[in-house]
């Protein structure tokens, strides 16, 4: 092949700025390259040094998170985190954002978010077995909200349902602060064998680099480059930067990859996510300490006349890159052809330490791999923080006219109503192992063919985090831990998805820093490390940013499925016991927001030691099969938690009047942390209460099951049927009123 250099690109300051590189970053590039880059090289640096790929604002702080523990097989830094489940099984999981694309095109944005996170998981050799999603939308009244909810939910379902992986849980919030910046965070969990995990390090020279999956098109090549007309010949039609997902191909890709993995011919494998071919190639080379030479002539292409620049930056979906054992290409190709997928050898590894890209006989890029990764900019951005707001005393907050009236209002409100409309659009049962469907505290998915299961959930309460980022983030970690505990699981580890506004504003950076501190503390005390994560910054429009939203995905294990509970109240005559200290904290609660006129003050404080003691006690009772159901107390407080148990089990509750010294409404609606409700039979109640005393755990019998209504004394009653229709009504009614 004759080799020549590409035409001089005329790298102007404008072009550099359009590629998102700051002048000093460009200087660093020049030092690494030793000469002016080609356009393709500029494009490569631009994507690799983007916030998204390089974590330049967050890396410094992320390093402080606790990431180890005896259960951890792989912490952050690979495609996904891995925890040990015993018996040679492990769980591979991660959560990732697809916020901006979902705002632009909700269906495809959300769908490709799901596809992307699944690829991160099966890249590592795991079969995806559960998807979850954490969604934040603007105010229901906002003109775009309904359209966005509709598209995002349909897109998540459309992708996951077709691939055949159950979507088993998640959360949904509405808040005007997300009007112009919705958040779509998708989580995937897969199962693998501990001796069959695949990594991305391409170790060894002269090995074939193989491209599989869909063809490359001009999808998602970024706006910066779109602005320059010279890259776009048919400029009469501005090319959409939106990617379209193809779940059918993803399903085939999963099956083909898992089939090939069983053949033991893969040395390294990496999905093509953000910055597609560029990041997958350079990451594989960097981690393996090798060089890679690519010949783009062999890349399967969907469109004619694609340039090297376009192919390297394309974000076409459903593609993977692999390094194979030499000689295994024909076997591998047979597998991919059986599944109807493209397969092409597009390069080889070498020991040059450089990423060299050829196209049509021209060397389009020649970059030292290590510098591309290690010399990426790293910022310790300035940050400021304010002292947390004062604690609101319950006495300052008006009681409601009626307790049951307030309960009904909260449970019928967009923030407190049932999310059934959402999860019924997700196939949550496919694969035949969903033990706890959506609607419980944590989803429970059996490990196929065994009597063990994983449990998973997603949580964060953005209003708490906005008021006090450290405490709010601590709370988010604790809430996932509690939700896992409430189904009888032993919490193992988390993935985070940190969504913030512009980090170049010191107060936003301060929120980020405080969140890291809160998360660190919670993970340490609970021995519940972070094994994977994702950061999404610049969620901001016209200077208005989102509230800090560190979504936490928790994963736990149930070693014996006969020893678990759900939250549905079971038998008339049984007693409900509330565990944990009652302080009547009303600041930043749903009660304050919905009934008392607006949010104010400090969020409920989290005592991690109390959290651990109470949770461990509940889990012990579940394992002893000593209780019939359990539910944690979260949004809406004690009364909402009781009502949820009653609705789930379709059994009424005679709730005992509160006789302590705090205002009653603070007891019913306070969102005190580290609390659970458990259902016990009358025969065992005394002994269980005795054990709470021995453990110095506050506990109180709050009601007796029976009948078909909720009541507190004579005056306060509410028919279950009435509450149920109020709780179920809002979502479908809202979505069906003037559809878009």
């Amino acid at each position: 092949m004759t080799q020549s250099t590409p035409e001089a690109a005329n790298i102007t300051p404008e072009l550099i700025a359009e590629h998102g590189l700051k002048p000093d970053e460009y200087q660093r590039l020049l030092e690494i390259m030793g000469h002016e880059p080609s356009l393709t090289e500029l494009g490569i640096f631009s994507v690799m040094w983007s916030e998204h790929c390089s974590y330049k604002s967050s890396r410094f702080w992320l390093k402080q998170l606790p990431t180890s523990g005896p259960q951890v097989i792989q912490g952050p830094g690979e495609n996904a985190g891995i925890v040990d489940l015993g018996d040679g099984d492990c769980a591979v999981f991660k959560m990732e954002s697809h916020n901006h694309p979902s705002y632009i095109e909700p269906y495809q944005g959300a769908a490709t978010g799901v596809g992307g996170i699944m690829r991160d998981v099966f890249t590592m050799g795991a079969r995806p077995v559960a998807n979850l999603n954490a969604l934040r939308f603007g105010a229901p009244e906002h003109p775009k909200t309904r359209h966005l909810v509709n598209g995002v939910v349909a897109g998540i379902g459309g992708y996951g349902n077709c691939v055949g992986v159950p979507t088993v849980g998640g959360e949904v919030n509405f808040d005007a602060a997300y009007n112009n910046n919705i958040l779509v965070n998708a989580m995937c969990i897969g199962l693998a064998k501990t001796d069959k995990i695949f990594y991305s390090a391409a170790r060894g020279a002269d090995l074939p680099v193989v491209y599989v999956g869909s063809k490359t098109g001009r999808d998602g090549i970024h706006g910066a480059t779109m602005a320059s007309a010279e890259f776009d010949d048919d400029s009469d039609e501005k090319r959409p930067t939106v990617q379209v997902g193809d779940p059918f191909t993803e399903k085939l890709l999963i099956e083909a990859c898992l089939e090939l993995m069983a053949l033991d011919v893969i040395i390294a494998i990496q999905d093509m996510g953000a910055a597609g071919l560029t990041s997958s190639t350079s990451e594989m080379a960097d981690k393996g300490g090798v060089g890679i030479e690519l010949n783009l002539d062999h890349v399967p292409q969907r469109e004619v006349g694609m340039t090297a620049y376009e192919m390297l930056l394309s974000e076409s979906q459903e593609r993977m890159l692999m390094v194979l054992k030499p000689g295994s290409e024909p076997d591998a190709e047979a597998v991919f052809h059986k599944w109807g997928l493209d397969f092409a050898v597009i390069g080889r590894t070498n020991d040059s330490g450089r990423m060299v890209v050829k196209h049509k006989g021209i060397i389009e890029a020649d970059i030292p791999v290590a510098n591309l990764a290690d010399s990426a900019p790293l910022y310790e951005r300035p940050w400021t923080t304010e002292p947390p707001p004062r604690r609101i005393l319950a006495e300052w907050i008006e009681p409601p006219e009626s307790i049951m009236g307030a309960l009904k209002t909260i449970m019928a409100h967009p923030s407190g109503c049932s999310r059934r409309w959402v999860w019924e659009q997700y196939d949550h049962m496919v694969m035949g192992d969903t033990i706890q469907r959506p609607g419980g505290d944590a989803a429970v998915v059996r490990i196929h063919g065994t009597n063990k299961a994983i449990a998973a959930c997603c949580d964060v309460t953005p209003r708490y985090v906005l008021a006090d980022p450290a405490m709010g983030t601590k709370q988010a970690v604790a809430e996932t831990w509690r939700n896992l505990t409430a189904v009888g699981a032993e919490p193992l580890a988390i993935t985070d998805n940190l969504n913030y506004a512009n980090p170049e504003r010191p107060e936003i950076m301060g929120q980020f820093v405080q969140s890291i501190k809160g998360m660190t503390e919670a993970c340490e005390v609970l021995a519940y490390p972070v094994v994977a994560g994702n950061v999404s910054l610049y969620n901001e429009t016209n200077g208005v940013g989102i509230p800090p939203t560190p979504a936490i995905g928790g994963v736990g294990i149930i070693k014996d499925l006969s020893k678990r509970v759900d939250m549905s109240a079971k038998h008339a005559g049984n007693l409900l016991v509330a565990l944990g200290a009652e302080e009547g904290h009303l600041g930043q609660t749903l009660y304050q927001q919905i009934i008392a006129g607006g949010l104010d003050g400090a969020p409920p404080p989290v005592d991690l030691h109390a959290e651990k003691a109470t949770g461990d006690f509940v889990r012990t009772l579940i394992r002893e099969q000593a209780i019939q159901s359990a539910h944690d107390i979260s949004d809406g407080g004690l009364l909402v938690a009781i009502a949820e148990m009653a609705l789930a089990g379709n059994v009424g509750v005679e709730i005992f009047p509160y006789e302590g010294t705090l205002p009653a409404h603070a007891i019913w609606f306070g969102e005190d942390q580290a609390r659970y409700i458990i259902e016990v039979s009358p025969e065992t109640a005394d002994s269980i209460l005795e054990r709470t005393r021995q453990n110095s755990l506050p506990a109180r019998i709050v009601g007796r099951l029976g009948g078909d209504k909720l009541s507190i004394g004579r005056a306060e009653t509410l028919e279950l049927a009435e509450l149920k229709s109020a709780h179920e009504a809002w979502f479908p009614k809202y979505m069906d009123s003037v559809s878009d």
């Binding site: 077709c162 399903k251 599944w339 659009q425 196939d427 949550h428 496919v430």
Partner: protein, 234 residues
């Protein structure tokens, strides 16, 4: 006994069906690939749920034309019992083995939830373990389950007792409110004139153990066992 599950690219309830069948019949199940041109002898064939070919074009359309289906159609004609669940039902309609077609749900939304169905035709190999009129709680999970046929065709189905299951309320009332997809006359499943070919939208294989939340689907599996044992004994 031998049973076979056909796997199309995009099938995703194939494993669930295999597990359920193995549990029901106590023998291993063959998995036949869509591209195969020969099909081993089998006492019964199941077309599983999922999204064959992504449900692109029309659900079941491309699967109906895949190489293996020529064999399945031949077996059907020679009397082998065939069950199509969900996407499998759509495939059976597209091949013409069953009349009518499954259109997009009236809500235009995918629906995954437990529904109730009433068994109207217990004399098929897949429902004989149920009493006529039995009410089952069973999951559906589909985007295109809205059964359509013209009025004559529907009358013929009714007249020949080919409606196998119908959506109903918990108390057995066949009401519009119990219909998850807008299907004509609340039809959830039908059979052909020989009653050996059955298609239904609900997923019995998802509800055959209490760990999964119920056992009402077990009857379909018990029926299969009985039907096959009787057939083998003859």
């Amino acid at each position: 006994m031998k049973s076979t599950v056909i796997v199309f690219p995009g099938s995703n309830c194939d494993r669930d069906m295999k597990v359920a069948l193995e549990k029901a019949t106590g023998s291993t199940v063959d998995m036949a690939w869509h591209g195969d041109t020969d099909l081993k002898p089998s006492d019964l064939i199941v077309l599983p749920g999922g999204f064959s070919y992504g449900d692109y074009l029309r659900p079941g359309a491309m699967a109906a034309k895949s190489p293996i289906m020529a064999n399945v159609i031949a077996r059907a004609k020679s009397g082998t019992p065939i069950l199509g669940i969900c996407n499998g039902f759509q495939v059976l309609c597209e091949t013409g083995l069953l009349p009518g077609v499954l259109m997009r749900n009236a809500s235009l939304r995918y629906v995954c939830r437990d529904v109730h169905v009433k068994v109207e035709q217990p004399e098929t190999p897949f429902t004989l373990a149920y009493q006529k009129g039995a009410i089952l709680r069973i999951p559906v999970a589909h985007h295109d389950g809205n059964y359509f046929a013209d009025a004559d065709q529907l009358d013929r189905l009714e007249g020949e007792d080919q409606v196998v299951v119908r959506y109903c309320n918990e108390d057995g009332n066949v009401a519009a409110s119990a219909n998850p997809n807008g299907s004509q006359r609340n039809i959830a499943g039908i059979c052909d004139g020989s009653r050996r070919i059955v298609g239904m939208m609900p997923h019995p294989e998802r509800l055959f153990e209490s760990a999964l939340g119920g056992c009402d689907g077990l009857g379909v599996l018990d029926s299969i066992k009985q039907a096959v044992n009787t057939a083998v004994a003859h």
